[in-house]
């Protein structure tokens, strides 16, 4: 073995190239199109949504068609490892939202003996308006990482609601990543690669695929339908709503004083996995369906009105002289006039997770909504719905989580910085 060289050890024949890799890697990515002045805007040309800006993309961004959502438990107890992961995620997320591989040359550039740094299934695909939105759960601030004093007052677990049938394995989490795109493969690729980068620091607690949007977050979008066949999100807060966004969606500086100020400009995300008993619903008459929802099925008009966007009026009488919209209809209970002006930005997705073993689809709505304060907005709304909503006969909440989504990133900033600074 005296004349052993690396070459002979590796059994390499003559003619092979001996190469040295030298990397020039530095700083974070700059955004492709960052004006820093407002919400992320969609692009018409390159299907790229700006990653950086005042607020995170994926909230007021016009809702994409597909979603892959994942909640993780942090498994390390090392604060620096968590911070490093947030930095690593930032870089990979920015690259992927630009349509690039998770790392330069990630698919084949590492050579035959390297493990590809990017999993490859989105290699030839466009960015498909991919957005990657991160959020932090209440449990992240339990003291393991020295963040206890940084927990915003509003970041608390949701209370139990009447009728909840929550599965702990589909609820909670220290971190969440919401990946939305117009191509499901792009969204799944994003989550898969971020999860992979997190092995050893965090592990997946639960995840949810959504195959079709159920809300519009922009006036440029048509209103989609949920699995009950009704238009959903007609009265949503929209990205064009300027002042309403500040009132109802974005956490304001006065909401998060002192050590919790890292959340200013962010938003609370509430996720609820709502199983729909679609087979039972499908056996329900049209009249009953419309009474339960409070809108017409075809046009989506409030009962008693003509067109989808006609003003919803809870006093307009029907043929029998009673209010056309029953007091316990879904839209009545959820309406801001009944809830002291409360509104939320809904951004949910239809899902089916196969079947339930009884011959029924395990299908429903993965409700995702963003708001300025979950406990002052979602909680009273859901309390009202849980108590009286006629829809409850057809639905069941099986998963629940709340996260605080930090504001957008400035140039060169990464997700770990403001939280840990």
């Amino acid at each position: 073995m005296t004349d052993l060289t690396r070459r002979s050890l590796l059994g390499v024949g003559a003619g092979a190239a001996a190469l040295g890799a030298v990397a020039g890697v530095g700083g974070a990515y700059a955004a492709q199109r960052t004006d820093g002045s407002g919400p992320a805007t969609p692009s018409v040309d390159d299907q790229v949504v700006a990653f950086r800006g005042e607020h995170q993309a994926g909230i007021t961004t016009p809702a994409q068609d597909r979603m892959h959502f994942v909640a993780l438990d942090v498994t390390t107890t090392d604060r620096d490892e968590l911070r490093d992961l947030l930095k690593t995620w930032t870089r990979a997320a920015e690259r992927m939202t630009a349509g690039a591989e998770a790392a330069p040359g990630g698919v084949v550039g590492g050579g035959p003996y390297g493990v590809p740094e990017d999993t490859g299934e989105a290699y030839d695909l466009d960015a498909a308006d991919l957005t990657i939105t991160i959020g932090y759960g209440p449990s992240l601030f339990d003291g393991r990482f020295g963040l206890a004093d940084r927990r915003p007052e509003g970041l608390r677990e949701l209370p139990a609601f009447v009728g909840d049938d929550l599965d702990p394995a589909r609820s909670g989490g220290d971190l969440c990543i919401q990946a939305c795109a117009n191509d499901p493969q792009v969204a799944v690729h994003a989550v898969r690669n971020l999860v992979r980068l997190g092995f050893g620091v965090g592990s997946v607690r639960w995840s949810q695929l959504g195959f079709g949007r159920t809300s519009s977050t922009s006036r440029s979008q048509t209103t989609p339908r949920n699995l009950f066949g009704f238009k959903d999100g007609t009265n949503n807060v929209k990205s064009e709503d300027g002042a309403a966004l500040d009132d109802h969606v974005w956490v304001q500086p006065e909401d998060v004083p002192g050590a919790t100020s890292w959340l200013a400009g962010g938003s609370y995300l509430v996720a609820r996995r709502i199983r729909m008993h679609v087979e039972v619903w499908d056996r329900t008459t049209l009249q009953e369906q419309e009474q339960v929802v409070g809108r017409t099925k075809g046009e989506g008009a409030p009962l008693g009105q003509k067109a989808e966007f006609d003003t919803l009026d809870l006093t307009t009488p029907g043929a029998d002289g009673q209010p056309a919209i029953p007091a316990d209809a879904h839209v009545a209970l959820a309406h801001e006039s009944r809830l002291g002006g409360i509104r939320i930005l809904r951004r949910g997705y239809n899902f089916t997770d196969g079947s339930d073993g009884l011959g029924h689809l395990d299908a429903g709505l993965f409700f995702v909504a963003f708001m300025r304060d979950a406990h002052r907005q979602f909680v009273p709304m859901q309390k009202a719905l849980a108590a009286k909503d006629r829809l409850n006969e057809y639905i069941e909440h099986t998963g629940s989580a709340v996260f605080a989504c930090p504001p957008g990133l400035t140039a060169d900033e990464h997700w770990g910085q403001r939280l840990f600074s």
Binding site: T5, L9, G20, G24, G105, G200
Partner: protein
Amino acid sequence: MRTPTLTVALTALVLAATAACSSEPTEGNAAVVGGPITVEATDTSCTVARTRAAAGTIEFTVRNTGSKVNEFYVYGEGDQILGEVENLTPGLTRSFHVEVATPGTYQTACKPGMKGDGIRGDFTVTGATSSQAPDAAMATAVADYQEFVSAQADALLARTTEFVDLVKAGKVADAKKAYPLARGPWERIEPVAESFGDLDPKIDGREDVVEEGMQFTGFHRLEKDLWASGLQPDTSVVADQLLVDVKEIVAKAKAVTLNPLQLANGSKALLDEVATGKITGEEDRYSHTDLYDFDENVKGSKAAIDALRPVLKARDAALLATIDSRFAALDTALDAHRTDTGFESYTALSPAEVKALAVALDAVSEPISKVAAVVAK
């Protein structure tokens, strides 16, 4: 389970490691003759000032005069990256070095917008191939690991002999105790053992992977007899055959010649075994002694890393430190299930406990998967 770990085709490239991130000219070599090669990258073009250079260290200075974020790459065969600079924002100029030791034709590429194949151009490297010094550390790593394999092979023979004797004597209770222990050395060197074709299924094949025309023999057949179906008329014959097969594989394992990449891949393959066979409770479905095998696979994986330790320490100390700390965490997770005599039954684990083991296993498997590339540098 069989995995084709040791049949890795070894072709192509040897990589020489350098980490020249500074802009200081590297010592020796006719490196920076003619100065840095300037590259102008726009949204639609990639102009490389010179497309020839002598083998050695080559410096590029890349300027992004376009409106999109750009990247510049130097590629070898099969688009392997020899050097790259990313995050070139509009207006930015950055320099980097790439080490090319072998003359030949390479490619350069600008990637406006960071995606696609980029704007390619050929790049020629001239001169003589720089020779490489023998790598004593690598040779030592291989020698150390072969010694480990040899010692495990001896233990496998001794313990299998003991186990077979107990089975043949009809001492079921003692044979049950000896079963997981006899498998230990096997599990530690499984990728080596599995490289000998038919012997692996004969010794370690599970009932569901027995191919048509083949008998169900080996450890798992005896496991089934001991725990499930009771001793059968042919149990002794199967036991004798196991010893014959083990003797053959021991002789082969002691004679095997390995290379460093096989150590790296073997280390990974052992953890893959745990992930696909042991964490699921499939391996020892009658005895439920899966955690013994789990532990031995991990020990075998660690042994390969230990043999490579001096190499890894020199080339990627951070990776080695991560591997060490995550192996330690995995050990702690396994320790929770140790008993006075060995390990708890797999069936005693709650789903949450299985998940905790899987999380610790994933944590170490990711960095282990990067070892081969470090060894191949």
